[in-house]
Symmetry: C2
Subunit: 339 residues, 2 copies
Amino acid sequence: MANKKRATLKDIANVLNISPAAVSKAMHDDSRISDKTKKAVKRVAKELDYQPNHLASALRNGKSNLVGVIVPRTNSNFFSSVLENMEAVLNKASYNIIITQSNESFEKECKNIDTLLFTQVDGIIASMANETVDLSHYEKVKSNGIPLILFDRGENDLNVDYVGINDYDSSHVIVEHLVEKGCKRIAHIGGYRRTRIFNNRIKGYVDALKKNELPIDDSLIVESALTLEDGRLEMENLLRLEHRPDAVYVASDYAALGALQVLNEQDIKVPDDIRLVGFGNEPFTSLVTPSITSIEQHSKEIGRLAAETFLKHIAQPELKQTLNKIILDAELIIRDSSR
Amino acid sequence: MANKKRATLKDIANVLNISPAAVSKAMHDDSRISDKTKKAVKRVAKELDYQPNHLASALRNGKSNLVGVIVPRTNSNFFSSVLENMEAVLNKASYNIIITQSNESFEKECKNIDTLLFTQVDGIIASMANETVDLSHYEKVKSNGIPLILFDRGENDLNVDYVGINDYDSSHVIVEHLVEKGCKRIAHIGGYRRTRIFNNRIKGYVDALKKNELPIDDSLIVESALTLEDGRLEMENLLRLEHRPDAVYVASDYAALGALQVLNEQDIKVPDDIRLVGFGNEPFTSLVTPSITSIEQHSKEIGRLAAETFLKHIAQPELKQTLNKIILDAELIIRDSSR
DNA sequence: TATATTTGCTTAATCGATTAAGCAAATATA
DNA sequence: TATATTTGCTTAATCGATTAAGCAAATATA
């Protein structure tokens, strides 16, 4: 590999017999540089295939034009779609993104933050891992002085911007829909209460039951990590109850899929015997049999808004970080599993 | 936001009344620095919450300890798993990864490469977008002198390291399996021939048919982008044929899922009427009804090997980039759709 | 005791790009 | 014509971390 040295401003300067400072200004179209010089500089830059050294300019300017993103996993359509739209907005503003995965692990999330700070990102946009309870690593980001924006999985205690959907209301919409279909014993396979969004979904579920004058039965409310396997397990548990539910609201599509598998395996008719509702509107919800009713989380919007919030902070550095929530209305997509 | 200035080596030096050079050496446990000074430096570093400025050291050392990764999309389990294992290996060698998505777009892939080179990554590990035919942007990486490693979707013409599975053999394994089950008219919903792996799958399919003395029927071979929607479309087309196939080998699980939906909708019994085989062993293949026979691509191994190949190039910079293929044997996971 | 070696630091330069300050030549204004 | 302003560049310092070169003091060796 002919380790060709990259051309530098100095190389261009040498060719033209001017100072590197003049070259730098010419490249930035400084008004104090003559058109003749600008043209010459740009011509030579092209000839030498000059690529500015990002490290040098970032060091000098104190900003890297990189935004760090932390997601629990990239392999869900939700996060993938959020990332895609976030990137589009940031690219337009000449920022690039560095994606890291926490794999739902607290330890990994801490490492991710260290990596991103180490890389001198200009800001961090994150969705918290399932395991995360201690927030000190996020405090570190804040005290570093760079904007921190949370989406989907956030925490009020951090007092930073947050973009997400209305989880509490979503639960209401789901329960109302199931009640309308005549369900009386609605179970909830939820996430862990320590995660704010899952806590809100549980609260919304409980309040919606109360509103509809249905009894709250603790045996019908379970918490889990909401993997497909968890969905299977909890569904099996629910079916073992003396008094089975006639509907199950699962706080994640993956877990809902697990639940559906168990129901299918045990020849329990969905929606006739038990109605099923998921959360997230992952593409597979419309592909399985029966298709699963779910909540659309507006991933595109979330990505866009999170990116724009970051840009707002960059544009107005005097803006203090405070709890500023952008809450989107979720949308219930009704499919065969609850029809 | 109290834009606290980060502590620098100079700050530590000032506290201890020694030179920044001594501090730098102390932090790196240089043998020419006394234990007393080292301890003092580390104590003050901790007190001031010193974080080395990555940009400065990267600029000085000429390496960023960042590896750029390009994947078509992160939302498949295959790529997500490759990334996870790649990251684990690289992190251990104190490299961090920057993940970018091409969204299967050639244009986006070019941009990704520009971004990564701009960020001064020490190497690029990539899987090519569906659209990519022109390879000049990859040549740019090569001429930049940093290692380029391809995985899954690669090209011989680039003459760089490649890690992937044996696509040609995989097709043979699939065809053999279907023939064993008594199939005589095996269709293939493949990817575009311009992508090497898909071309190899098609070639393998054709050769395996020949080997089993089955006729090659061009109406049974179709090329597509292999999305779920493509799978639906092509399956519908195949069913409209006068002489229907008795088995379909789809070169991607997503497209296979689409095909299965159509078969289910039209009440065609799988596997009795038509046998179905996918490719990739995505988790959902075991979840749908009937479960889909598929090829396991050893994503973990691919991630690990790609990372190790990169590290090998870093360890031996004199190593020339040549076409060096690491080909893994794929594994057929037989499920209900072909049983 | 005289010289050689080792220890423990400092000095100064460097990685590239950028910018404030400054200077000479060209041009504009009085 | 004399002064003021503008133009078009250069000089030098800077962003932090690192390292080759060097120097004085401490220690080892002859």
